[in-house]
């Protein structure tokens, strides 16, 4: 009896978790002009609307561009940070790690207000650079954490063995350290990409008329028109997120 109840509860919980995601996809294939569930007739009408509208496409491309750039930046900075943290003493490391993970625990709206003020004084509101820097900050903790795990698992004697065999510091990094932490770097990169791609709060504050990410565009659309084209944009985001997390899984699986 308990077994049946447990299963029912688990099913209910799973349904609650995936419900919004499952609800969005059918809406994207609706014929109607309003977001109504379930759609009475099916069509690809709103997909054509999406891809015919330059503002939607530009938002998608902006999102991809910002995500790719902040992914690169946060991977470079986060990997260096993770390697540097490992070289610190235990107390300094705990302190510095806390600092690096700060953006993860700080309320996003607080970060947004602060960043908005900063970006204004540097003239970065409404620029790609401003968004990239903000998202890099938000993604950095994920890279530091992911790479940190790889770095901690790396046997320090491997580097000793390599230098004992005659390898200089550069060669040791290239041939020993980098291959060992690569899965962590890739995993961190995927997290960074996804973090930036679906981020909306900072983007709303820092976006401008010409630089607008997909989530910001969806937000604006929902407030004015509320057509199923929003569901199309959301479905595209879900697909990319699934691909991203699958890649992340693959990257970390290879290390094991």
């Amino acid at each position: 009896m308990t077994g049946a109840w447990t299963k029912a509860f688990a099913a209910l919980l799973a349904a609650a978790i995936v419900m919004p995601v499952l609800a969005v996809a059918p809406l994207a294939f609706s014929e109607q002009s309003f977001l109504v569930l379930p759609p009475r007739t099916w069509s690809l009408r709103w997909w054509s609307v999406f891809f015919a509208d330059a503002s939607w496409l530009r938002a998608l491309l902006t999102s991809l561009e910002v995500a790719a750039l902040s992914c690169l930046l946060s991977v470079a900075a986060g990997t260096s940070a993770a390697l540097g943290l490992q070289a610190l003493g235990p107390r300094a490391r705990a302190l510095a790690t806390g600092l690096f993970l700060g953006p993860m625990v700080a309320p996003v709206i607080v970060l947004a207000v602060g960043l908005y003020a900063l970006a204004r004084s540097f003239g970065l509101v409404g620029s790609t650079l401003g968004l990239v820097l903000a998202h890099t900050m938000l993604a950095l903790p994920y890279v530091v954490l992911n790479v940190g795990v790889s770095v901690a698992a790396l046997d320090p004697r491997l580097a000793l063995a390599a230098s004992g065999l005659g390898a200089g510091p550069g060669r040791v990094f290239r041939t020993v350290t980098w291959p060992a932490i690569l899965p962590g770097v890739m995993g961190g990169g995927v997290f960074a990409f996804v973090t930036s791609f679906d981020e909306v709060v900072l983007a709303v504050f820092l976006a401008g008329p010409s630089v607008k990410t997909l989530p910001v565009r969806i937000w604006e659309e929902v407030r004015t028109e509320y057509t199923p084209v929003v569901a199309v944009a959301a479905t595209i985001m879900i697909i990319l997120a699934v691909i991203g997390s699958a890649m992340g899984r693959f990257a970390t699986r290879r290390s094991a």
Binding site: A161, G164, L165, G166, A180
Partner: protein, 350 residues
């Protein structure tokens, strides 16, 4: 000229002395074991030799050149770690080839040397295998090949068999000995296992508390240890505590409470008249002697061809005796003795 020479090498961490100033010369092709309990300084000494730890005093010479200030990568040293430290993302061939690639050896020669090294450790044909798929013993042999293939001036091994189980440890031990006999390389081998040191070494350096206590062949250390620590560390030993009663011409006698006659034996360095000392009598030298000292058998341990007897003398002193099982007495009251030439009188060690 010695292949490796430590001159007054010492290491201090803050207030604690990891290694007291030490002199050690290793001849070319000689296999020396550093034997001692953990914290004795043996690994520190090895890591100083490798260039992973900087000594606080003294100099290190390898092949006549002062390498004290050189980083590890410029020393031409082959190091074998206890946990193998193989590069997990490289196959067996590339692991062994690593040092040769650093040295920019041409491809044909590189392949030849890697193949030769793998054959030496009996892993020919394993080149394309992933190192993770190998057993512990095989991984350690890859590590050996990787260290030897660069033709190092000295081969350093840090408890290389520590992670293997007992049976495998014996096999690899004999393997290392066989390779050393076939092609002697100057080797410094760290271990806390006396049997390993006895099987493999030309000479053994016993360390304790950061101090080199004794350096000599296995036979010298076993039959003429400088103190009770070395005696206890190598082989089984009976140490009977007493006071020095006579001391001359390299011989000493020790008077022991409750003993009717004193124990006579070879006098080690550092003995002083009337001071505390101990007599070393190896269990295999405690024999049945008609008309000898009275002893009572309180325990018998059958070990196959040998039987170990725990004896109590009337004075309360306990002794172990190892006899051939066929010679073992049936009764519990026996008479024992020993050859005074086999006895050493050693200074007390705290």
């Amino acid at each position: 000229m010695s292949a490796v020479a430590f001159r007054g090498v010492a290491k201090r961490y803050g207030a604690s002395e990891a290694l007291l100033p030490l002199d050690l010369e290793i001849a070319s092709g000689e296999f020396i074991s550093l034997l001692g309990p953990s914290g004795s300084g043996k690994s520190t000494l090895l890591n100083i030799c490798a260039g992973f730890i900087e000594p606080t005093a003294g100099s290190l010479f390898v092949a006549g050149r002062d390498v004290t200030a050189l980083p590890a990568r410029r020393r031409n040293i082959g190091m074998v770690f206890q946990n193998y430290a193989l590069f997990p993302h490289l196959d067996v061939f590339e692991n062994v080839a690593y040092g040769l690639r650093v040295r920019k050896i041409a491809r044909a020669e590189l392949e030849q040397r890697v193949e030769d090294a793998l054959r030496t450790v009996r892993l020919d044909g394993f080149g394309a295998r992933s190192v993770i798929s190998l057993s512990g013993g095989q991984q350690q042999r890859v590590a050996l090949a990787r260290a030897m293939v660069i033709e190092p001036d000295i081969l350093l091994m840090d408890e290389p068999l520590g992670a293997l189980d007992k049976q495998l440890r014996k096999e690899v031990q004999i393997e290392i000995r066989r390779m050393h006999v076939a092609r002697p390389r100057t080797t410094l081998y760290v271990t806390h296992d006396q049997e390993e040191a006895l099987v493999m070494s030309d000479r053994i350096a016993v360390l304790s508390g950061g101090r080199l206590v004794q350096l000599g062949t296995a036979r010298e250390l076993y039959s003429r240890p400088v103190d009770g620590f070395v005696a206890r560390f190598l082989g089984e030993s009976n140490l009977i505590v007493g006071r020095v009663a006579q001391l001359q011409d390299g011989r000493a006698t020790l008077s022991v409470d409750g003993f009717s006659s004193p124990i006579e034996g070879y006098a080690a360095q550092g003995l002083r008249m009337a001071e505390a000392a101990c007599a070393l009598i190896r269990p295999e030298h405690v024999r049945l002697v008609a008309g000898g000292r009275q002893a009572r058998v309180v325990e018998r341990i059958f070990l196959g061809e040998i039987v170990a007897l725990r004896l109590v003398l009337p004075s309360g002193v306990e002794l172990w005796s190892r006899l051939f099982s066929s010679d073992a007495p049936a009764g519990d009251q026996i008479e024992i003795g020993w050859d005074r030439e086999r006895v050493s009188i050693l200074p007390e060690t705290s």
